[in-house]
């Protein structure tokens, strides 16, 4: 009987299945996008640069306070060890560490006699980790807002670039430097003959500085194997009350809270874990980046949740509306079934079976359509796939079943209550 209906009423059933498929695809794609949007946007926000800075515990006096009085000789006497930098990638939240780079600064004199700050760092340093992973870390991605006006970034994996530097645009103007020029840098401990690989415009204080490979600045200032700070860019969860309490003093938390905090990607938890692996270090959140990121992520997620809710309500109403209409339309059939003696329950069963079968077909088709839509959004907006969470399948299934049942039951009840004679006569619909 059900089969008969499905085949005879092909057109109408197809229409219902199609609508349900649309609703299901909408639900699938929106829920998936909503669940993934946090990660995706967090990845985008990485363009703002590092959100964690690691410094030696003892350097409570920043070099820039003393620049004024002592002519640029950094007071920070304590350093971190360069060979420990890779350990950042071995902490509990290693997967969330997007990028990092060590820094050391030294003042050098240029051929013209002028003094400049030379910043030694990694550009695209290749690291092989004890975990077997390997990655490229450095300022090329950590300073994504820099414009390279002339030349190109230093390529550390190219041995020819070992004696090259990048010069800030203001300093280059002042000294009349261009990409390809050679110049002599005189440091505290050594003299280096270098080539200008590129001129950058950073729109900040860096425009007056020289960026050079880490080992070169270490040689210039006689600080081999030492670094002054590490900048880390990590994907974090926006801070909440627990994170704020933990930031004050992790030891004051109860052991359960401590565990929750330690195992959540709060910026304070990641800082704490970095401090654990790097000897004599203090890791602190760069509030300008970390706090803003949290605010923006929260807002984006909330926005997506509300849009998803609207589209879910919309498609639910749309589907139940159509199902109701299709039942009402078949009131004559119901009347006929009643007239030849069918029980109410039997009629309801047959109708529900029909509609649910249609919904199943529509729902499965809709899931795959939704998959497509989600990937379309992922690729065109973020150029990466949206992760399809298996959790979404039961959620959509329950949603569609509820909506179809809620849409058809009242309609079937209403028609059943009518007098079969009247319905068949067609005077009342």
């Amino acid at each position: 009987m059900i089969k008969g209906v499905l085949i005879r009423q092909r057109g109408k059933m197809l229409l219902i299945a199609f609508t349900i498929a649309l609703g299901a695809s909408l639900a699938t794609s929106m829920i998936n996008v909503m669940l993934d949007v946090g990660d995706k946007v967090a990845q985008e926000l990485k363009t703002y640069g590092a959100n964690i800075v690691v410094k030696p515990q003892d350097s409570t006096l920043l070099a820039d306070i003393y620049d004024v009085e002592d002519g640029g000789e950094a007071i920070a006497s304590a350093y971190l060890n360069e060979d420990e930098v890779g350990r950042i990638k071995t902490i509990f939240w290693a997967f969330n560490i997007v990028d990092f780079s060590p820094f050391i600064t030294s003042s050098v004199s240029l051929p013209s006699g002028a003094e400049a700050t030379a910043v030694g760092t990694w550009f695209n340093h290749h690291l092989d980790l004890p975990t077997g992973e390997s990655l490229d870390a450095g300022v090329v991605s950590l300073r994504s807002w820099w414009d390279i006006l002339e030349g190109a970034w230093i390529d550390e994996q190219n041995p020819e670039d070992a004696h090259t530097v990048m010069v800030g645009t203001l300093l280059a103007q002042q000294e009349g430097l261009h990409a390809g020029d050679t110049l002599k840098l005189t440091g505290k401990a050594a003299v280096e003959e270098v080539t200008v690989a590129g001129i950058f415009d950073a729109g900040g204080d860096e425009d007056m500085e020289i960026y050079a490979p880490l080992d070169m600045v270490q040689r210039l200032s006689d600080t081999e194997g030492k670094i002054a700070s590490i900048e880390v860019s990590a994907l974090t969860t926006p801070d909440n009350d627990l994170a704020r309490r933990a930031a004050q003093n992790p030891r004051a938390l109860s052991s359960k809270d401590y565990e929750t905090w330690y195992c959540t990607a709060y910026v304070s938890a990641i800082c704490y874990q970095i401090t654990e692996v790097i000897t004599g270090s203090v890791a602190s959140a760069v509030r300008q980046v970390a706090d803003s990121e949290g605010a923006i992520l929260d807002k984006t997620q909330l926005l997506m949740i509300l849009i998803t809710a609207l589209s879910l309500i919309g498609s639910a109403l749309g589907i139940s509306n159509l199902v109701t209409a299709s039942v009402m339309e078949r009131s004559q059939e119901i009347g006929l079934l009643k007239a030849i003696g069918a029980h109410d329950r039997a009629i309801t069963g047959v109708f529900m079976a029909e509609i649910l079968l249609t919904a199943l077909v529509g729902g499965v088709a809709g899931y795959f359509m939704g998959f497509g839509f989600a990937q379309l959004i992922g690729h065109s907006v973020f150029s990466s796939a949206i992760e399809m969470k298996p959790l979404v399948i039961p959620v959509v299934a329950v949603l569609i079943t509820l909506v179809t049942v809620a849409g058809s039951m009242p309609a079937i009840r209403m028609v059943l209550r009518l007098d079969p004679a009247e319905v068949l006569h067609g005077s009342k619909a």
Partner: protein
């Protein structure tokens, strides 16, 4: 009865008589229109609202004087080039080097307007509160740790015009010497003393605020310090200046500091202005601000004895990258002696992320709209298909195909218009809820959206009626009426 009257009567009668079916159709169009107007409103408002959120990253434009410093008037004139509504905050800064009286350490002091700072740098995390009265400072966390200052402690700051604070002078009678050394758990201790006529140590003071009060703190005691007075310069320790029991590390550090002290200036050259200030807040930013002392511009003027001038003006402007560029050019063209600079890190990143977010909302809106519209039209199709019998009857009574089409289309469009109006209102309500919940501000009503929503709903309902009507009209009325 004219034709038109009859037409209207037929439509209204049909709508009224078949209330439940029409309600289904109206509801479906209404839902579609709600989603349309709601999402489009959000789509238009998101860049503005999100842009405001991105301002929490801080200043995206700074004004620097071409040379020297700028006056308040100059800065005001530059600000006029930007519409006031778009300026979220404009915080002036004046930087000078100051010295702590007790420790003789030099720091950078920044004079600013704290109300504006809270607008331009919302990420400042202050323990305690921003200064609100005179002689109050906001202390960077690093300085607080270095000098051992706490909330509500009072610090003394000296400002000397730059030429008077030359260091590394020659030790001569009357010279002041300062020294420091690492004490307990590497926290520094500071000493200050002067040389008398016979080059002997006098007026010795020590700062051991960073040490534990019960142990190292006792080294500040005069009885202990007395043993150093009258000693020869350069100082070398002997048995009589032995360590203080219970404060071994600190007292050793003090001896080291006295021995290593250097001349800061000749007493006769000291023309500094000293002020005592109360620490009302400690600033934690994770950035270089942690090593500054912030105070109000009035206090700064009082300390330096100079009129209120600015070294830099940080501005947070809610605008796109192009707009910012045009503001920059506008300020440059006025030749005020001020150079505007964009904070590249903020502006570039903001443009990149915002355009992604906008693309996201656009695509989501597009997908939801397309799917919803198809949903609406399937419902409309079902509603019209159901009325094939009525069409058959009309045809049997002699109605022309055209009149039937016109009537049904008219009905559909009437429903469309009604649903559109309903939907625009509901949609605006929805967008308002989203905006208030997510961004905490109300949304601007887009007047253009009302006619757009109505026209689109009418179009969709008319289009989705077309096909079933066409089918119904083609069929032989006898067959339709028989119910085949």
């Amino acid at each position: 009865m004219t034709r038109r009257k009859m037409f209207l009567r037929m439509i209204t009668a049909s709508l009224l008589r078949r209330r439940s079916r029409m309600l289904v159709a109206l509801l479906s169009i209404g839902i579609g229109a709600t989603i349309l107007s709601g999402l489009v409103t959000i789509y238009y408002d998101v860049p503005r609202q999100m842009g405001a959120q991105f301002r929490s990253y801080g200043a995206n434009m700074i004004l620097v004087p071409e040379e020297g410093s700028m006056t308040e008037e100059q800065a005001q004139q530059a600000l006029e080039s930007i519409p006031a509504a778009q300026v979220i905050g404009a915080a002036p800064y004046r930087y000078v080097n100051v010295q702590m009286v007790r420790s003789q350490l030099s720091f950078v002091a920044a004079g600013t307007d704290f109300t504006q700072v809270q607008a331009t740098s919302p990420y400042f995390s202050v323990e305690g509160s921003y200064p609100s009265g005179v002689r109050q400072v906001l202390l960077g966390k690093e300085i607080a740790q270095t000098i051992g200052a706490k909330l509500n402690s009072v610090i003394e700051i000296t400002y000397r015009p730059s030429e008077a604070s030359a260091s590394g002078g020659k030790a001569a009678p009357g010279a002041t010497l300062v020294g420091s050394a690492e004490g307990f758990s590497t926290y520094p201790v500071y000493v200050t003393y002067t040389l008398d006529q016979d080059m002997k140590i006098s007026n010795l003071t020590v700062n051991v605020d960073t040490q534990t009060a019960e142990y190292g703190g006792r080294c500040a005691d005069e009885l202990y310090l007395k043993r150093f007075l009258g000693r020869d310069y350069p100082f070398t320790g002997d048995e009589s200046t032995d360590v203080l029991s219970g404060a071994t590390i600190t007292s050793k550090a003090i001896m080291e500091a006295i021995a290593g002290a250097e001349v800061t200036e000749n007493v006769t050259a000291a023309t500094g202005n000293t002020m005592s200030m109360q620490v009302t807040g400690i600033l934690d930013t994770g950035g270089k601000e942690e090593s500054y002392i912030f105070m109000s511009l009035d206090d700064m003027a009082a300390l330096t004895g100079q009129p209120q001038v600015y070294d830099v003006m940080e501005m947070s402007v809610s605008a796109s990258a192009e707009e910012l560029d045009s503001f920059k050019t506008a300020i440059e063209e006025r030749h005020l002696g001020i150079t505007p600079r964009l904070v590249k890190r903020i502006t570039n990143s903001e443009t990149a992320v915002l355009s992604k977010l906008q693309a996201l909302v656009f695509l989501v809106t597009a997908v939801v709209l397309v799917l919803t519209m198809i949903c609406v039209s399937t419902t409309m199709m079902a509603v019209v298909t159901e009325r094939r019998k009525e069409i058959g009857l009309r045809k049997a009574l002699g109605a022309s195909d055209d009149s039937i089409r016109v009537e049904f289309l008219g009905e559909g469009m009437f429903l469309g218009a009604l649903g559109g109006i309903l939907g625009s209102l509901l949609g605006f309500g929805f967008a308002q809820i989203v905006s208030v919940n997510v961004f905490g501000s109300s949304i601007t009503f887009q007047p253009l959206l009302l006619p757009l929503t109505i026209v689109v709903s009418m179009l969709i309902s008319a289009l989705s009626c077309l096909w079933p009507i066409k089918r119904a009209v083609q069929i032989d009325p006898a067959l339709v009426l028989k119910g085949e």
